[in-house]
Subunit: 440 residues, 2 copies
Amino acid sequence: MMESFSVKPVKVGICGLGTVGGGTYNVLKRNAGEIARRAGRGIEVAQIAARRPNSRCDTSGTPVTADVFAVVNNPEVDIVIELIGGYTVAREVVMQAIENGKHVVTANKALIAVHGNEIFARARDKGVIVAFEAAVAGGIPVIKAIREGLSANRINWLAGIINGTGNFILSEMREKGRAFADVLKEAQALGYAEADPTFDVEGIDAAHKLTILASIAFGIPLQFDKAYTEGITRLTSADVTYAEALGYRIKHLGVARRTDKGIELRVHPTLIPADRLIANVNGVMNAVMVNGDAAGSTLYYGAGAGMEPTASSVVADLVDVVRAMTTDPENRVPHLAFQPDELSDHPILPIAQCESAYYLRVQAKDHPGVLAQVASILSERGINIESVMQKEAEEHDGLVPMILLTHRVAEQRMDDAIAALEALDDVAGQVMRIRVEQLA
Amino acid sequence: MMESFSVKPVKVGICGLGTVGGGTYNVLKRNAGEIARRAGRGIEVAQIAARRPNSRCDTSGTPVTADVFAVVNNPEVDIVIELIGGYTVAREVVMQAIENGKHVVTANKALIAVHGNEIFARARDKGVIVAFEAAVAGGIPVIKAIREGLSANRINWLAGIINGTGNFILSEMREKGRAFADVLKEAQALGYAEADPTFDVEGIDAAHKLTILASIAFGIPLQFDKAYTEGITRLTSADVTYAEALGYRIKHLGVARRTDKGIELRVHPTLIPADRLIANVNGVMNAVMVNGDAAGSTLYYGAGAGMEPTASSVVADLVDVVRAMTTDPENRVPHLAFQPDELSDHPILPIAQCESAYYLRVQAKDHPGVLAQVASILSERGINIESVMQKEAEEHDGLVPMILLTHRVAEQRMDDAIAALEALDDVAGQVMRIRVEQLA
């Protein structure tokens, strides 16, 4: 059917032939017919920049260079696909492509979260598009869903499992009662986690993605430096078990919520009621839940990473860009969903001003009266207790874990209560605090 | 911030002020600022056609007429929103709007499934858009996800819970062990089901939506008349319980699958493994799972009906149309995802040629040897049994239910086996057959 397309193919240049670059090349090649039947014209890879070949990718017939700027400056290339990663060369590649009047497709969440404002401003000056669906949640078209599919809504909040490594670790801890460090080692062996897992398990990767989602949901500039980030390294399998007994699951969640005072932007372990659909998203899978005033809650689920899922989003962006190439730049979907002159200066709230319910695990001495002391510290600070679960003394040290669920309260007040709890003679060590979200 | 928009607002006309029409009016009014910040210009309701007022909707200040054609022929109106429903007046309204060179947004699944080919052909002639996100799965932007978000993929199959009434009934049957007729009565009282529930419980409504989803997934013309439709009225609470015991849940599913021989297009009760995310979609909620060769399986979940969820999709379509109004018609997203000259004539398979695994409930006489007879009938036809569950005799008639799960087999062969089973002296009445899908 290909011969029926009278328009000449669009030429793209791929910068970076790692996992996603290889996947993008393969998908463009394998599904060329299917893609052209949709786009109305072919998409052809004119040049690839790669430092080394990718064994999962047969690039014979396509010119390959080691110099990414050869692609960026290639006059044949209409669209530059940046799949290098990181902030340095990737940033230069994207900025130079924009200067050259080329559209850009990227999967680089760190680059967009940290330098997106500058990149989109320059792209606007030059009338080009920088598309980034693949930067968040791999193969799930969640940027498109929020930016276009929910454009009628005032978005209230969103919450996402947006790091597959972290979700794999938490799923294993729950299903098999394993310890964090043990599962992390396996995830590294399986290739789900990097040798240095900091970006994943400390929530930095998730915070990059959450920053992007919050901007397009609320119409605010990208402000990665203001995101609160807390990892999953301190979680014990005991916490996972207690949460389960209370009817909850622990997920490493990115939460963005609009309040009158400002916007909450936070990544941390979170208890979610076990019967919520998102609580049942397991293994390396991702999901994002979005609550809008008209649509209510919707959820988007799928593979959050990987060679071809991420390539799926890169190529979908390519098709969008191909369609939008002839449109008036003023009539395109804005980069951050809202018109650039219409972004809001509603502030990002510091974590101390964020509000949530809490799970507290207090290691208390095993004698009567401790609960009364704990309850009075909380009640003096206006913190209401929803439930208390006291375990039998199991440990050699004679300490018993006391698990409390509280109602919603500002973090500042909880910080204060925890300091007072930790100062009690009958409380040993640190109080474990995990935020609770109902996501109703 | 509104004063900063230099472009004049787009004027729309709403035809029909029922549940969705009222919701659309309210959302456009309440979120006018938010929507304009995204679209880059305001969207103004120039006229409404309604036979009676909607008490949930204050239309003061907006001209209202009883004559839908007054809206369709109003030279002020740029976009006609058809929310009348049905095939007769709605069709005339849409066709006349197209003739008048106006874009159309509709939530009418029956109209699109049955007359969509004709409507899109005429719209193409006239260079206008007919948008229909709200026709499938209410507030979930699943048309956009498949048509644009997954454009890189060769779609293998999709499966959806796309009728909220049916899902509410099945959820209640499972959670509370209630009988079908009993729950249906409650659904009618709650307003979830119509006085005549045929469209919902017999799967016709779901087949309309499935027809649309299959077209945009596989690039085929709309062929509602070839969809296989089977309702949930014959399901017993015993079947729901047996399915549960086997690790499955029963959902009323629309399934579309691409095979070498053709495309399966079928709506019927279906056993799904209980640990699949879609098996945990309960109550009136909808979800669609889509499997593409690059993205793998993705899932889209949310409210499938209702005043504002459906309005959310209507208004999102309006924003899309507003953006696309100045584009070259050749560069727009095609109505059925694929370029109109590139649709495929891959046939829809009759149900006899469709393939699935099966749950069979055989009412057998309580003596040895019945299982051997049943097994030999199946094996003679090349049907492999995956598991057998025989219940104790509970009923007065001395019959025992024998539950079988088979491997995948063509329906024709299963029809033949069932006829042979029902002819056995040791088998009473009809064999209950429910298809099984793994959705892996």
